[in-house]
Symmetry: C2
């Protein structure tokens, strides 16, 4: 049940209609690892940080079973930094500042001890770095899941297409699925995207849930209706972490098990948005997750009799 996670470990500064976070820890691989480690340990982490990344954050991750042997520390550079402001709808946001810092010349190296891992989660990162990690693996993982975003479609489409050919599951949001496929209908978009490589496609729709496509099958998982979404940052990464974490823990890559994985991802994401950054992810335990899974069952469960009335 060994899992490699690749992505950023970074600082964010977030503004929402409800407040400002100040500089807090973020990054795709940070969120994925916190989420996945609820289900599977160790999480073999590949990332890069600067001299300024807080030691207590690293200690907390290690205590959680996140193996940081693949995390490079650049003592003369700062960590990647992103600042953004969310609009009232909490779905759209403006980037206020991006400082690549350590990310500018990041060259991920897979430690020997990570070789042979069964599962690979490529968190949002430059596509060529995602591909570099795949190429370094001596044995292809049983399942490769890739998260990406519109920014790479705009600036590195060739690299992105090359990675797509290598992965089993792609995760994007609805507008990214439309951009990538050139199709407005998500059903049609899914068909086009699966021609690009991934056998499975997960389309994340934020507060509107998520869709899983595979061959002619579609599964839909709702998002939990919440009184307040405090900070959506990292919700997609947390969703991905719950998804791959469940699959790595169960070692079952069937469509049926992916359904459960999506519900687990949705449950984890519903915690993530309740506070700034990864605060909530450090607080919750297995009982909290189970209680929320029960809410998902209640939310969508219905009995029908299909006989004529």
């Amino acid at each position: 049940m060994s899992l490699i996670v690749v992505g950023t470990m970074a600082f964010d500064a977030i503004e929402t209609p409800f407040g400002k976070s100040g500089q807090i820890v973020g990054g795709s691989a940070t969120y994925v690892a916190w989420s996945a480690s609820n289900f599977v340990q160790p999480v073999n982490q590949i990332s890069v940080i600067g001299y300024d990344f807080p030691k207590d954050e690293l200690d907390a991750m290690q205590a959680r079973g996140i193996n940081l042997d693949g995390v490079q520390v650049k003592q003369d550079q700062k960590s990647f930094f992103w600042a953004g402001r969310y609009h009232m709808d909490m779905n759209s946001r403006d980037t206020l500042d991006t400082q690549l810092n350590v990310l500018a010349d990041f060259d991920p190296v897979v430690p020997d001890s990570f070789q042979g891992s069964e599962f690979l989660m490529l968190g949002n990162l430059m596509p060529k770095l995602q591909l570099s990690v795949i190429r370094q693996l001596k044995q292809r993982p049983r399942l490769i899941v890739m998260d990406t975003m519109n920014f790479w479609m705009d600036t590195a489409m060739e690299d992105l297409e090359a990675v797509l050919k290598e992965v089993d599951v792609l995760m994007v949001n609805d507008s990214e699925a439309r951009q990538l496929s050139g199709q407005y209908s998500l059903v049609k978009a899914a068909k086009e995207i699966r021609k690009m490589g991934p056998k499975f496609l997960v389309i994340k729709k934020g507060e509107h849930g998520a869709l899983l496509f595979h061959e002619d099958q579609i599964f839909f998982a709702p998002a939990l209706p919440l009184e307040d979404v405090f900070d959506p940052t990292g919700a997609g990464d947390t969703f991905a972490g719950g998804f791959i974490g469940h699959i790595a823990a169960t070692r079952d890559i069937s469509f049926e098990n992916m359904k459960t994985a999506i519900i687990k991802g949705s449950a984890l994401a519903s915690f993530c948005v309740e506070k700034f950054g990864n605060t909530r992810m450090k607080e919750i335990n297995a009982a909290d997750i189970d209680a929320r899974m029960r809410q998902f069952v209640d939310l969508v469960n219905f009995d029908i009799t299909l006989a004529a009335e």
Copy 2:
């Protein structure tokens, strides 16, 4: 299992990115009746039409078990007419033309033969006319369901508030729920709206499904992912018709049964959008509806074990 349906019977002229309908039959009560009559007959219809409403449409409705005794025919006026153009997202639309015609001085009259009906569906219509029908009923129906829209919130809020006090179930879309409550979070919006009268609230989210709120319970029904949405006109009315039709047929007004009713409404709406106007509603049969209900089961059904992994 007697049901009264109140609303418009009208002409529409629809433009979508895929084509123009020309002048076709529409109206909230038309769609509700076609949909509900899949499950319950007769449907006791209350509406108003002009001299120009096609006789073959009336014949088809009567053949379907829709009782038109409550439909006034104004021989010197034209039927209500609406023209609109949908944007690419098929969620937003512009009104191009509205001609009230017979609707301008419509005074609905409940036929004696409709008295004692157990269920009342108030389709989208001027709130004061919805209220007039409620007031004419000698015995309160077991369940009163009301559909409305933002236009009445802008122009007839006092009347709308008066009707809200009298109904059991309110159906609105997400932006209307936000406008009516002044709350962005739909969970908070539902709490506010239920204080206005309705014990149950259905929030329709178009392609993103529908939510049912009652006390502390929430149920979510997805919309079926479709390759193409050809014409969304009437989808909300068709949803309402499937909902009240199932409830009237089963005579069960429990929260549990409302879940099934919402799935039935969603299934009917998924047919409605496949062609212009009510074309598809005339084509489908019980087997088609059952097959689509099975798709809903497949779409959201998942197995989970909540024990620790």
